[in-house]
């Protein structure tokens, strides 16, 4: 039996009161909360082992280097990869920029890059910039009305073809919770000789992930959505691909020999880690992975499924509520929705006065909102510490929101 109460004990912030009510944190797709074990690991590193890595040869420098590289090993084990394939970045956005910048060294005006309309802006803008630089064309997967990537339409228009060099899609939408058919997309893309990038920021925190099984050549995610600190992200790439790519940022640690006439570069992953890396953050991410593994990703995924099913059932009771994406079946725990006649920003405000933390806006996925014909939405997102009671609180707060705006906006009578 999954003991959510015991899990919550490790997260002091979940005991906070907001506006006189217990915090009901439903914004984990934005950033997760951190267990004391992670915060303690970071504090312990700074208080007892702090030094720069690799270039400090003294005892502390060695301890720091060992801790940093141990975090890399933890990440690799967590996603079924090899240590040398794990690049630490500052977040998933930087990882995607790294991918776009280095892969676009191969792009020319005849080439095409494919993304989907369901992408987070961080998996759109770097490719737009790359296409602007190189003259390549950016093309888009559409989605069906319930948010699934429309493979039929893509095949009908030969979206991926011999001109396609890169395909970059989300492994799980941060708006609809829909997982992309990555294996199918990857085999199609690979048959055309294209490289596949997957944004797994919303997948890796919630389900057991083996990067080799996903089918992509590069997979990115971020630490702060999986109980780790902000400031550390991860890029995994097949080693032979990484070894074939040019550097991204230049600086210390990414070099082999620097001469005034030119430099040679370190091998992956260090080639892509210029400057002092996020050392304590990586140590914190390692502690987060230890925490997740101690509970077990299968059990976390099961809890996610149960909470998601419960939330979908309860939200269906709220009048005028429209969910963006699937309303049943296998899907992620981030649930975005609208209420008729109440702007998401106003919903968020009323919910906040109930202690309920959600996100209101376009969640950095404006094209997808446009595709659904809405300007913005409210997103409630769960994680391993979320309870069914919190979902009940959300539903009550939404009912109150309707009452607040209905009474004051819609039922005034005689004015419209």
């Amino acid at each position: 039996m999954y003991d959510v109460a015991a899990v919550r004990e490790d997260f002091p912030i979940l005991s906070r009161m907001i506006a006189g009510r217990p915090l009901c944190y439903l914004d984990s797709a934005n950033t997760s909360q951190k267990p004391a074990q992670v915060v303690d690991a970071i504090a312990d590193h700074y208080l007892h082992h702090n030094a720069n890595v690799a270039r400090a040869m003294h005892t502390l420098g060695m301890e720091s280097t060992v801790a940093f590289e141990a975090a890399r090993t933890s990440v690799a084990r967590f996603i079924g990869a090899d240590d040398h394939e794990i690049v630490f970045t500052k977040n998933a956005s930087e990882a995607l920029n790294l991918a776009a910048h280095t892969l676009s060294s191969r792009l020319g005006p005849q080439d095409e890059v494919v993304v989907s309309v369901a992408e987070h802006h961080s998996n759109i803008v770097p490719w737009q910039l790359a296409c602007e630089r190189t003259g390549a064309t950016l093309r888009w997967f559409d989605v069906t009305d319930d948010g699934h990537i429309d493979l039929d339409k893509a095949h009908a228009e030969s979206l991926i073809n011999e001109r396609t060099r890169i395909v970059s899609v989300t492994a799980m939408s941060n708006v609809t919770g829909v997982g992309a058919p990555l294996a199918q997309i990857a085999s199609w893309a690979h048959s055309m000789g294209a490289v596949v990038v997957a944004d797994a920021s919303q997948l890796v925190p919630h389900a057991p992930t083996n990067v080799a099984d996903l089918g992509a050549d590069i997979v990115v995610f971020t630490g702060h959505k999986m109980l780790g600190p902000t400031g550390v992200g991860v890029l995994w790439g097949r080693y032979d691909l990484l070894a074939s790519l040019p550097p991204f940022l230049g600086g210390g640690e990414m070099i082999e020999i620097v001469r005034m006439t030119g430099s040679t570069y370190a091998r992956p992953p260090h080639r892509f880690e210029a400057g002092t890396p996020p050392i304590a953050q990586a140590v914190g991410l390692g502690a987060a992975i230890d925490y997740l593994e101690a509970i077990g990703m299968e059990r976390i995924a099961e809890h996610d499924r149960a909470i998601t099913a419960y939330a979908l059932r309860r939200l269906a009771e709220v009048p005028t509520l429209r969910i963006l994406g699937p309303t049943s079946g296998e899907r992620g725990s981030a649930i975005s929705f609208t209420l008729a006649d109440v702007h998401p920003h106003d919903i968020m405000q009323i919910l906040d006065s109930h202690g309920v933390a959600v996100r209101g806006g376009h969640h950095c996925a404006r094209p997808l909102h446009e595709r659904f014909g809405v300007q913005a939405s409210v997103r409630a997102s769960a994680y391993l510490y979320t309870t069914t009671d919190e979902i009940d609180t959300l539903v009550e707060a939404l009912m109150d929101t309707l009452a607040f705006f209905k009474v004051r906006v819609d039922d005034e009578g005689g004015q419209s």
Partner: protein, 149 residues
């Protein structure tokens, strides 16, 4: 709920429900588009001048109750006045919103806009309340830039 009632005063909800001067109209000298990137609110605003007098402010907007109502109230206040008067109102309104409840507006001058005093307690919403005003200011400055050419 006390804070909420202070934020969502009846005047604001009235304007939200029935926006004044809404819609895009001709003729106009300047058109600007402003967005609030954090929530996606978007506003297209046109400014029409008669000499130094603001003849019309027309707009098309998508947004929350605070941004919609604030834009509506703003048009009531600035249409028929001079550009400098509108810029002075802008400064005072912004000072109130950023004043954390310490700055009061003169009701004689600001009329319905005083209802936004509750927004000052919600720093995250100041941008919402300023969206229309910021667009107006931008439009006015562009016309003044034009004068100098």
């Amino acid at each position: 709920m006390t804070d909420l009632t202070a934020l969502y005063q009846d005047i604001i909800l009235d304007h939200y429900r029935a926006k004044h001067h809404s819609g895009l109209r001709d003729p106009y000298q300047v058109e600007v588009t402003h967005v609030n990137p954090s929530c996606g609110d978007e506003l297209e605003l046109r400014l029409s001048l008669d000499g130094d007098t603001i003849r019309d402010v027309s707009y098309q907007a998508q947004g929350c109750s605070i941004s919609q109502a604030s834009t509506s109230v703003m048009t009531d206040l600035v249409i028929g006045g001079t550009r400098d008067h509108a810029l002075t109102l802008y400064d005072g309104f912004l000072a109130m919103l950023e004043g954390r409840g310490e700055v009061e507006l003169d009701e004689e001058v600001y009329e319905d806009a005083i209802a936004f005093n509750g927004v000052a307690q919600f720093p995250a919403r100041v941008k919402c309340a300023m969206l229309g005003w910021a667009a107006l200011r931008d439009a006015i400055l562009r016309t003044q830039g034009g004068d100098n050419e």
